[in-house]
Symmetry: C2
Amino acid sequence: MESATENLHAFFTPKSVAIVGATKKINKAGHVIFKNFVENKRREVFKGEVFPVNPYEDSILGFQCYPSVTKIPVELDLVVVVVPAEIVPKIMEDAASKKVKAVVIISSGFSEIGKHELENKVLTIAKKAGIRVLGPNCLGVYDSRTGVDMLFLPETKILTTGEEVIATPRPMPGNIAMVTQSGAFGVAALDYLAGRQIGVSKFVSFGNKCDVDEAEMLHYLLYDEETKVILLYIEDIKSGREFIKIAKEVAKRKPIVALKAGRTEAGARAAASHTGALAGSDQIYDGVFAQTGILRAKDMEEFFDAGKALAMQPPASGKNVGIVTDAGGPGIMAVDECELRGLVVKRFSEATIQKFEKMKEEGKLPKFATNLNPVDITGSGTSEMFEAAVEILFQDPEIHGIILLGLHHTPALQEDYIDRVARVATKHDKPIVACDIGETEMALHTRFRFDKLGIPAYSSPEDSARAMNILVKYGEYLEKHNCLKEYIQNFLKEKRKAKTS
Amino acid sequence: MESATENLHAFFTPKSVAIVGATKKINKAGHVIFKNFVENKRREVFKGEVFPVNPYEDSILGFQCYPSVTKIPVELDLVVVVVPAEIVPKIMEDAASKKVKAVVIISSGFSEIGKHELENKVLTIAKKAGIRVLGPNCLGVYDSRTGVDMLFLPETKILTTGEEVIATPRPMPGNIAMVTQSGAFGVAALDYLAGRQIGVSKFVSFGNKCDVDEAEMLHYLLYDEETKVILLYIEDIKSGREFIKIAKEVAKRKPIVALKAGRTEAGARAAASHTGALAGSDQIYDGVFAQTGILRAKDMEEFFDAGKALAMQPPASGKNVGIVTDAGGPGIMAVDECELRGLVVKRFSEATIQKFEKMKEEGKLPKFATNLNPVDITGSGTSEMFEAAVEILFQDPEIHGIILLGLHHTPALQEDYIDRVARVATKHDKPIVACDIGETEMALHTRFRFDKLGIPAYSSPEDSARAMNILVKYGEYLEKHNCLKEYIQNFLKEKRKAKTS
């Protein structure tokens, strides 16, 4: 098993890499990719050797240029190809004679425009030489820790005002792997994740996936220590049986969230003309996902929100949700969304209700706070009240997950409630998610602070309920396969380790 | 009809207002509200007279204080009451003898905690004196143009770092009226709208709605020139028959979007313990909304997104959607969401397909661009291509609305595509909505720029499809009542007027 994934390793941690098609011309993919490696090497993030390959240049960015990979004086792990499609077979022959382990073909102009023969030619050479191929027609790899970065889209753009702004950012290192069939959606995802400060371990764009496909990549990521959660954007799955077998195993150890476009007939038609995906009925995919424990996101936002929830919180061991709020309306909205997704928001146990009643008697909760589920600490709610209410719900054995709606606008509620709640949460092993509504400073600060302390925060009550739903659904899959307890234990152990390190 | 709404006028444009319970103590509602009026008066936004009422003070913020409204030497249009519930009847008696037109009772402690008798007492006095009452237990009114501002929640908060951040912002002036039963959700909504730079005309929080209710407020807003779209958050509707009658009329002239919490049984139970709302089955509300042409949002995000779409774009006169994109995957996602909502994304007419083929021949569109619907101008797409493709769809009589997915990440696409597309759009009378994915500078800039030019922009393909769905659904209602053409004409006339002024 390990050996099967061994040469995929070269895609992410090559000791040496050659960029075929490297050039001095700015804005060209061959320039940007080479420069990414050079800059990451200078910063000592990328620790391997880098070689530009271009028969028409002597040197690029101060690096000696080679006319062909065969002339490079060291062993080569990885070759990145950014030359016109027609000459790619020649490059592959060179790579074969050089005995490289892996090739990423960024170039387009293959099966996606009907040139199946050309693609087959490339694949035949690779198979014969034992070279693993990613692509063609892809964006390749970005690894936040090893400095492998093949993203060639301009990192910044210049506005008509002359201002330079971030256009294609790199997210910070984290535990989410993004695996995508669509390169365009992939970079858009990085832009989203970077802006929301959600960390990424690896990014892989497949393109035509002539060799390495989803199944094999899932398998590889199973053994990748940095990756805790896998986000998978797909339009079709080619090796169905293999995919199901592997996904089943991976999902028991690491959650996989899928966004599968082409859900409707018209969407499937569009997918077919996009990648030639013979998508098959969407029900088949629903079946595959259910069978393998892959969590299917309903839309883009749920896709990212689910990734964040699973990276930060353990799955739930049941579907009873307890809600704490300081705003009645949003509390109802969260209840609605939970129930619509099949979660249960039922009246608290008498024991829990009595605990809240006692708090009221002692003046620790407003006299008119409702406490049946949701607990509504009302607009007079303080940080201490949130802390105490959350503690009570964590202690209730009938509650499997907690949604905290802390609207920051009231005068009594201070910023410290975030830290108080997070402190309580670390003592328990149930999942908790948070929500604050608003798009100005305090709301943004509140959500970022929650995220930072490991409680995933969302901008609407419904989003937070959907995140909890994913934690419940993943818990159900693990429970069915008798590995929920083990997963939670590992998850919490790693979380605590990450905290102290 | 006009006379019925005349004394609601005093809530929004009073010539004189007294704040009963005004105080020097910071953070008290009576201080914040009085100060809001004083500051808006100083800036000449609020043009009326302001009087603090408090028997224990001589002056507040330099204004002479009165022991009772009866002692104020001028006629009073409006009284804002911020004193304990028990003394509100006495204040009402004073207001009655002073012949004020309208009273806003911010104070809580009435029917929401079972004190029905006290609330009835207040109402009886009001009825007898012909005073209109908003509240009790509400946040009152915010009017972005007249400077009436009763929001007493702290505009900023101080973080533990000592930094001061915006906590409860006021949105800029605009055309959306926000009418809400939940005060907490109402301010959260303002925070959202302010951050997204969506303008608001009026904000009204009802609270217990002992007198003025949704029906009457809708009626009032029908005649409010600043308001083009009404966002309505409700947990229950009391005067059902009256509401239906009025909403039907209003919806023919101004779109109403409703977010009705308590959709599930558990949610309805939570609503009942929140406001005592006897919510009735959710199906009944669905019926009421369908009958009256009120557009029901499925969740918070759709609620705001719909408001923005309707404020910026005319409704569609059919359900055929044309999609232009530079990214295949997101294109498919938009198709899926359209079809799931009952919109139609069908293959373009032969005439339109031929126009795209001609562009390809002339080198004005990439050779391998797909053009059946979506049109995918691909990652090599330029600003000119977007402009030309959008123009073709506007000219296609079979297309009723356009979704533009312009992912900014590709090198070829420059910022000017936004202005080019907006220029084309102004020449036509079909709706268009836009999407760019990402949460860093260029994506935020792109969406704001689209918004600024009157094309509502969204952060996911699905959100943009939902926005188009609302424009189609509203068009269907208007068409059924033979007022679609008139509405669109008026809408475009006003839009052009706003642009030149």
